[in-house]
């Protein structure tokens, strides 16, 4: 796989070396992310990851001797605007392929439009199962579903001492949180680990004392928290205040980086299910790609923590670029067909789509990798 990638890049680079800059028209890739509004922080991370992937690819000669251009549209953290952004990208900018749209709701809102305009989309973050099971052949997801994540975690559950005997959940009240509660509960349940108490919180909530006080009453030994970075940090800090006293595991790729600089008191430690661990690029499946990505990111001086989410955009652009290369032409239908042949190394691991959903109308789903990072006293280590 490594040699294949290197060959691809050097092969592409050769024609470009003979001239300075590109004469050909750029290949446009459309992307919609929440750049303003409630979840803008993550959306901007993913968009940044995509931008550096475009830089890296163009420096290596682009695709088919043509440079890649990222057309980025804000979906304003709102499903209606997600649809508006896609209509603009497809109808006005005429992009042949899309990347989007962070939240499951935004992605689900776009799905009927993909069918209508017959344009493929790489889904980089959304975890809702329905995205790939509803029979939309234009969807190719590189992000893991909650179920895949839970299975990945369950394989490592034996490493815990004292063993995990009973679990509680504190989940954000949306697709992401509810999906994780359901899948982790079911898969760990099958391993003989029952679920105690489940509490939810609205995405905007900052005071979680009522939930944590209630969770304290449960006799579970491990608390699974599923939400965005910000709320995760709040929950962990407030868990100390409420003396919840359980092992904390966060899911879904969120990492409370603020706690590296301001560690929780009392020697508390926590585990985090991540898809890229930027502290250990050498432990990634393809260390050289992870290193390129991490170095490029740091060159821009962006927040280090963003690396844990930015890779989604990076891998998504690599995927689309590879599909365009295989297709050999910049046409939506050809790119859609080529998606099935994509087989490249990414920051998270190998990217390759398997069929999912009703026969004849399958969506593509990649099998990503899961890392568990332990945070103790402001220091990280790989579990």
């Amino acid at each position: 796989m490594l040699t294949r990638r290197t060959a691809l890049l050097s092969g592409l680079a050769l024609p470009a070396l003979s001239r300075t800059g590109f004469a050909a028209d750029p290949i446009r890739i459309g992307m919609t992310q929440p750049l303003t509004g409630a979840v803008a922080a993550s959306g901007n991370y993913v968009a940044n990851g995509a931008k550096i992937a475009v830089d890296v690819l163009n420096r290596a000669g682009g695709v088919m001797g043509r440079p890649i251009e990222l057309v980025l549209e804000d979906n304003k953290s709102n499903p209606r605007e997600a649809v508006a952004a896609v209509e603009k990208l497809v109808l006005r900018d005429k992009v042949p392929a899309l990347i989007g749209a962070w939240s499951s709701t935004f992605t689900l809102a776009i799905l009927p439009k993909l069918m209508e305009y017959k344009v493929p989309m790489v889904v980089e973050t959304s975890s809702a199962a329905r995205i790939t099971t509803s029979g939309n052949p234009y969807v190719f997801r590189i992000a893991p579903t909650s179920e895949m994540e839970a299975i990945g975690f369950a394989e490592l559950v034996g490493k815990y001492t004292p063993a995990i005997r009973k679990i509680d959940f504190l989940s954000v009240n949306n697709d992401f949180g509810r999906g994780a509660t359901e899948k982790y509960g079911a898969i760990l349940g099958a391993k003989g680990i029952p679920t105690g108490r489940v509490e939810t919180m609205t995405p905007e909530a900052t005071d979680l004392s009522a939930q944590l006080t209630a969770l304290k009453q449960s006799d579970g030994d491990t608390l699974f928290i599923t939400t965005g970075v910000e709320q995760l940090t709040l929950a962990m800090r407030q868990a100390i205040e409420q003396r919840v006293g359980k092992r904390i595991v966060s899911t879904g790729g969120s990492f409370p980086d603020a706690l590296i600089h301001q560690p929780l008191p009392g020697g508390a430690h926590s585990d985090h299910v991540l898809f890229y661990a930027p502290w250990f690029p050498e432990k990634a499946i393809h260390p050289e790609i992870a290193k390129t990505y991490t170095e490029e990111w740091n060159k821009h001086g962006w927040e280090f923590a963003g690396l844990t989410e930015g890779f989604r955009g990076y891998d998504a652009v690599l995927t689309v670029a590879e599909a365009v290369r295989i297709a050999g032409k910049v046409e939506p239908e050809a790119i859609r067909e080529a998606m099935w042949k994509v087989q490249i190394p990414g920051v998270n691991g190998n990217i390759h789509f398997q069929k999912e959903g009703p026969a004849g109308r399958e969506s593509g789903q990649n099998q990503p990798n899961v890392y568990i990072v332990r945070l103790a006293d402001g220091k990280t280590s790989l579990v």
Partner: protein, 347 residues
């Protein structure tokens, strides 16, 4: 505008809008206009409350969202427990049933809110309407069995219409949906015009201008306010239904405050209490966000939007349509009888 000229101008404007798909067959333009059109219908309905009764409802997205959910649920069907071991079940219905149930459900909630909220006025009314939308948002978020909560209702069927000679057809092409939205907008406009010109409208304006006086001459204030709210809510529900079958996914975000703000700014910009105000303001604020796209970075687009709101309110407090007709009437007043001009300006 004179009695002959105004309808003529109105119908020619509607005809011009109807011919847009022929003159500019750009699908992006039609998509933007369709989306704006749905909110213009919402703005037309809001104008009945805000413009003619003077009551600022900042929970108008509640009716819009209720219509969207009612329509989506009727066309998708549902099967829920309603307590005492009973179940409520509905098989999927055709889209027109969804549309009607959107109007009815939103209208019913309009009646409820009207009975409740018109006990208070001014800022209290404003905040109670905000709370109303918030509570509905929480319910839609957490009544997962019915609404799928944050997982959203997906797979909502597109519009379908019975066309002579073709039976029931799904309207999926851009011009078709555009014309449908335009048709509903014209209908909403005519309904509001009819009400405004009726006894109800005169009663509403009387109580907007001076509630105490209106009460003293025996106008049943709450009665008329509730009627206006029901009609307004029903039309907003219709707009929500169009939205549901256009976007084809509904989640609790349809109750977002920003949707209400969009409708309010459309009405105020165009001129509240004028029939054409929401249409003019709606076209401006419906197209503005899409014109701003790409013109500046995302935060700057929002800042421009916010500044536009502030500047319009400060420099055109009565809105564009009254300013324009005022100008027109001012020029003609020398020729026409002053009284007629004054009456027109008031209209």
């Amino acid at each position: 505008m004179s009695a002959v000229l105004a309808p003529l101008l109105g119908w020619s404007f509607a005809a011009a809008m109807a011919s847009v798909p022929f003159l500019f067959p750009d699908p992006y333009l039609l998509a933007v206009l369709t989306s704006a059109g749905i909110f213009i219908i919402g703005a037309i309905s809001l104008n009945l409350l805000l413009g003619y009764t003077g009551q600022l409802s900042l929970g108008h997205a509640a009716f819009f969202g209720l219509g969207a959910y009612a329509s989506a649920l009727a066309t998708l069907g549902f099967d829920i427990a309603i307590g005492f071991g009973l179940r409520l079940r509905l098989d999927p219905q055709p889209v027109w049933v969804g549309f009607l149930s959107a109007v009815v459900v939103a209208g019913l909630f309009g009646w409820l809110l009207g009975r409740l909220a018109f006990r208070v006025r001014g800022a209290y009314f404003v905040i109670i309407t905000i709370c109303f939308a918030q509570v509905l948002r929480m319910v839609s978020l957490n009544w997962v069995e019915l609404t799928q909560g944050p997982m959203a209702l997906t797979g909502i069927p597109p519009f379908a219409l019975w066309l002579p000679g073709q039976g029931v057809v799904e309207l999926t092409s851009k011009p078709q949906t555009y014309w449908l939205v335009l048709g509903v907008a014209v209908l909403a406009f005519l309904i509001v015009r009819q009400i405004v010109r009726s006894r109800i409208g005169r009663a509403l304006v009387a109580l907007r201008e001076n509630e105490t006086l209106a009460r003293s001459v025996g106008i049943r204030v709450t009665h008329y306010l509730v009627i206006a709210t029901v009609v307004s809510a029903g039309i907003a529900g219709a707009a929500g239904s169009l939205f549901a079958h256009y976007v084809r996914i509904i989640d609790p975000d349809v109750f977002l405050f920003i949707y209400t703000v969009t409708m309010v700014i459309m009405v105020v910009t165009g001129g509240k209490g004028t029939l054409w105000g929401p249409v003019v303001g709606g076209l401006i604020f419906g197209l503005l966000p899409d014109m701003l796209r790409g013109a500046a970075r995302p935060e700057a687009q929002w800042i421009a939007y916010g500044l536009a709101m502030i500047l319009l309110v400060m420099f055109l407090p009565r809105g564009i349509v009254p300013a324009f007709t005022g100008l027109l009437a001012g020029r003609r007043a020398r020729v026409v009888l002053p009284a007629a001009a004054a009456r027109e300006a008031a209209e």
